[in-house]
Amino acid sequence: MPISPKEIVSLIGLTSIVFLIAPIFLIRYVLLYNRKKKKHEEEKSIMVKTLETELLRTQMEVQEQTLKTIAYDLHDNIGQLLSLTTITLSSINLDDRAKSAEKIALIEDLTARSTKEVKALSRMLHSEELLSRGLFSAIEFELDWMKRSDRFTISFKKPAFESFTDDAGKETIMFRLFQEIINNIIQHSKATEIFVNLDQVDGALKLTIRDNGVGFDVDATLQRKTGMGLYNIKKRAAIINGTASIDSTRGAGSVITITVPY
């Protein structure tokens, strides 16, 4: 059946209507996608802000930790040395020249030890500067400091390179994670041995800290309020796009592995 001109004209009209409706949907899709892009950008900016806040908090915590260590050292170490020096000085009897010489030699030794301690503390005060020289040096310095107490046998294996990223913020957060884990070991684990291992695995830096302490129930600790430290470790690792795996069983020590891509 041939189509009449009237029908063809109607068809053209109908086609034109369809062709008019199509751009409406197209524009709507573009606008919808654009709105999603905006939302994504907002989320990204919130993430950047969170990272900045977290970085600031981390920097403050690193400083706090340094000051705490200094306070303990001043009280327990240098304070003791100086007290001993004072006592020795006050006990000197100038008439007994032989004993006095012995005591002066002891005072000289005590003063030299105090000076050495003060120098070490001064280096500690520059921990931030130390971090700027590289994460691995900072970790090494912190472990060397711990070794002085003779409470732990520490084994540290680090990679050949000094730094794993140009992002100083990422290194600060990584260093703070290390400090938090070590603090937990000192306070709760009753460990005698600590193994720290830094490795490069498939474009990521893997920090493994293992101890031979009493261990703990990971799930139960994470659920309790006391598990905030562990929760923070996981949260901070996630902020720098990393992961934290916590593995521990009672009586068998614990292993915490932080993996951060770079």
């Binding site: 001109p5 009237k6 063809i8 004209v9 109607s10 053209i12 009209g13 086609t15 034109s16 062709f19 008019l20 199509a22 751009p23 197209l26 524009i27 573009v30 606008l31 996608y33 654009n34 892009k37 905006k38 994504h40 950008e41």
Partner: protein
């Protein structure tokens, strides 16, 4: 030559074109971009062409094809240049513009000779519409793939392109069946399907373009 009252020369199309021209003049005359300033001139030329076409048809009662055949060239050169300025920030070379304009010129002259200057260059106009529709789509694609967020609802370029898309996409059916409609239209042009469609399309186009001028003015003011 017939005597026609002035009111007969004011149609929906000419009114829309004139309002859009006024809006553009008010909001764009101080614009720093040459393309947007040329846009004002283009709208004035569109209004003049439309009015001249009407005068020729209604006053001199002769065919107004030469006006529209000439105007197609203005339309193509301006719209292509404007699209080029939209794509330029994304690294598109001027070769694309010159290449397309060369192709258009060859097509246009060939068709003019083919119809012996006695008919509208419908094929060239159809190809031009399709190319502009593709340019609009490409603009959207660029905006979608651009990682930076841009508030499109306030974007002058977005509304300009959207207006062009409505017009050139909506007129596709009319353009393709131009010859058929010319010969078989059931009624006179003033109440024909072509007239209705183009009225609707023009109103949409000039509304979008007027809003685009306002957006451009707002953008300029907010960047001060």
């Amino acid at each position: 030559m017939g005597s026609v009252p002035l009111s007969k020369l004011i149609t929906l199309n000419t009114a829309a074109e004139f309002i859009c021209f006024l809006v553009a003049l008010i909001f764009l005359y101080r614009d720093k971009s040459a393309a947007w300033r040329v846009f004002i001139v283009y709208l004035l030329l569109t209004f003049c062409a439309e009015t001249t076409g009407l005068v020729i048809r209604k006053v001199f009662l002769t065919a107004n094809l030469p006006v529209y055949n000439t105007f197609v060239v203005v339309e193509c050169f301006f719209t292509s240049y404007f699209f080029y300025t939209l794509f330029k920030p994304y690294g598109y070379s001027v070769k694309w513009l010159f290449g397309w304009l060369a192709l258009f010129t060859v097509m246009y002259i060939s068709e003019l000779f083919y119809v012996n200057f006695a008919d509208f260059v419908a094929v060239t106009a159809s190809v031009m519409s399709i190319v502009f529709v593709l340019a609009c789509m490409w603009f959207y694609y660029i905006k979608l793939t651009d990682e930076r967020y841009e508030p499109l609802l306030q974007s002058a370029e977005f509304w300009w392109v959207s207006g062009a898309l409505f017009f050139y996409f909506g007129s596709t059916a009319c353009n393709i069946f131009f010859d058929y409609l010319k010969q078989n239209e059931v009624s006179a042009y003033n109440s024909s399907i072509r007239y209705i469609i183009f009225n609707v399309l023009n109103i949409i186009l000039y509304s979008f373009w007027s809003f685009s001028s306002v957006c451009r003015y707002r953008q300029r003011k907010s960047f001060r």
